[in-house]
Symmetry: C2
Amino acid sequence: MAFSQTNLAWSTLLELGGRGRLHDRLARALRTAIRDGRLPEGAAVPPSRALAEELGCSRWVVTEAYGQLVAEGYLSARVGSATRVAWSPAASPPVPRASRTPSRPVVRYDLAPGLPDLRAFPRRRWADAVRSVIGSAVHYDLDVPDPAGHAVLRSTLAQYLRRSRGADADATSVFVCAGVTDGLVRTCRALRADGITDLAVEDPGWPRLRDAAGSAGSRVHPVPVDDDGLRVDDLARTPARAVVVGAAHQFPTGTVLSPARRAGLARWARDVAGFVVEDDYDAEFRYDHHPVAVMQGMDPGRVVLLGTVSKTLSPALGLGWLVAPTAMVPGLRAANPVATAPPVLDQLALAAFIDRGWYDAHLRASRRRFRVRRDLLLTTLAGRIPRASASGTAAGLHVLLHLPDDVDTAATVRAAASAGLRLADLDDYRVHRGPGRALVLGYGNLGDTEVPAAVELLRESLRPPID
Amino acid sequence: MAFSQTNLAWSTLLELGGRGRLHDRLARALRTAIRDGRLPEGAAVPPSRALAEELGCSRWVVTEAYGQLVAEGYLSARVGSATRVAWSPAASPPVPRASRTPSRPVVRYDLAPGLPDLRAFPRRRWADAVRSVIGSAVHYDLDVPDPAGHAVLRSTLAQYLRRSRGADADATSVFVCAGVTDGLVRTCRALRADGITDLAVEDPGWPRLRDAAGSAGSRVHPVPVDDDGLRVDDLARTPARAVVVGAAHQFPTGTVLSPARRAGLARWARDVAGFVVEDDYDAEFRYDHHPVAVMQGMDPGRVVLLGTVSKTLSPALGLGWLVAPTAMVPGLRAANPVATAPPVLDQLALAAFIDRGWYDAHLRASRRRFRVRRDLLLTTLAGRIPRASASGTAAGLHVLLHLPDDVDTAATVRAAASAGLRLADLDDYRVHRGPGRALVLGYGNLGDTEVPAAVELLRESLRPPID
């Protein structure tokens, strides 16, 4: 295969196309030929003068390329001897080709919970906010980010949470994080460093929170939820000294923690010297009453507040917050030496978006849109599937649709998926199977005009069919 | 304190200013008064009719506000009895006020390593890229991100890494992550799930990588570095089956892993059925030769490639990548159930930035600027501090400045800091103390005209003073 031993035309063997200077392209072509096995280990490459002649370039180009590949270990050169290929693809063990990432099934209508209306993302204003902060940031804003978040966003969030959610927050107690999951992971690490390893979660609940707590090393204890929210007496029977609770709007049941339970939970936290982790994930959307203020405002020394823009703007932004009890602030900073905050420009953009009143405006518009959509959904469900009943309808972006006991919800979800309708089964959010059959119907990520068609498809997907 | 028992004017007690509807403002004002202790637990609030008269509003406003606070547990209402405050700030244990985040010391000149020139961040083009992708993204791009990264950026990065770094990458083997640290944490988790718990790192090396591996549960083994790079024979004496190595430009010594060591490292990885984690953090900047292609291209089944834009654009962007051996791809997806990719719009912006050729243009311009700056730095050092000598100068954004043995580098760093000059001591990157005294001088984040003044300040900061 060496130049002098074969009739091989090197100019044919080597693909010298592409961008870059000629010696770079030659090095790349040689590297590719060696990797492909076209130039096997031990083969001599042509003397630089000869190859330069064949390629019609200067000899310098060839010596540069050879030198480069010697430095990389593809070629070896010894004085007085030919330069030879020093590497073989056979040295790498054969590995199976990765299966391609499975593509998502085609979703015509999305009735699964967890998303706001992605069509209504305020693109123009978000772009304006980003452009404005890229222009106005000082150069040291582009330095390694403070893991607790940029001071400007921490201050803006503290003000927003005081004003809109009744929180007790200031810039030092707010941590910017990538969302509720990230906030919970940080909390679990700080709790563990403080000796609190047992954490209770609601059952049914959001599985990702269980996974997050488990991956952060906590032992997770599911506690049942009834019509008043988390059962505090059951909580008190676990060894947990911290509990994650959706006080304003439990996921997925939609219940609001009752005043008596709130008081009981606060007592429990004091008694065990523990903490309540309040997952305030979608409380901005409350339709029939005013939003319930957060528990954190009543008991800031015992409540960790988690929030996110995932349910109001988009989960693709990866922005959320954590409001920590003052005593936990140093632990949150210390417990994870490699914690990172979200990208700084995104943080500054959210701060600008809130400060200009655009976030409030978006929430107001969303609330109006979602109330109309919820009403239409409930009316349509009542008309088309009268044997089902909805609960948890007062707030948030989903309702619980209770179905007759003979409905096979798993089969229904499968039938719907194959028809392009995304549904969620209540059982999938349960650790311990409970009584009753229900679907968790999200109406956030649905076109305004799609409700009737989506409900019709839902009716047709019920297994066995009901009338 | 109840209305009927005091002369207290409620309109004075309650601050009804601020945004929002009147009943919301009233609820907020009552909540604040209860929290402050101005309305103690057990105090009766006025009958709704009486308070409405005093405030000059409709009775409905007051009943709405009271109802809200009953729901939140601040007030309790019983039929036939006055509505009373049900909560007391004394119920929350007093907590120490958090100390404010310590502000960074004023840095006039930054000679610490690890940053590119933040003044030269391509703001306009980055803003253009962001605005363009916000306009062109489809609405399901705003759904929950794929933890492995957006397909568009994975494909763009694969192409870029093949073209510019000689990597063996395709869209399925590239994972988008938040930077090299995040990439290493993901790798360590996947390795642990595969039974590989011992990981070697270079000594001296970047402490954050040690911390990251440790926080991901790996046992970390420091292995010494000499003029040829990592000492593979020392590596082979550890129980490690994976090693993090800066092959193209070791941090902080600046050495390039020699061809013999590269080959030895590849043999070691095969022998122990282990993996090389190649930290390709700043290899784009090489001044006297062409960039050395990555080891990963030679041995894609045994090498995990980590890279980032932190050293080329800004660490504030939080964007990096990992190229995984095919066999490790499923493990990387499975090992962390709550991994998240960086924000989607940032990912798409980076893809657009690369695809339009702006990244290459920025690298070319940076390379020119940094070469000039490095030359000026070396010349100035040689003139002003002739007893010191620099090494590791061929690439990257820092050099090692060797000092006479009698220099107290720690005292020098402290003296410099108090004069506004940020410096880094080689000893701070060492696990085991080595011979010799040196500073790690970064010249990335420095104004073009600041080199002489920074070197002068460095000379004045040397302890004891040398001539």
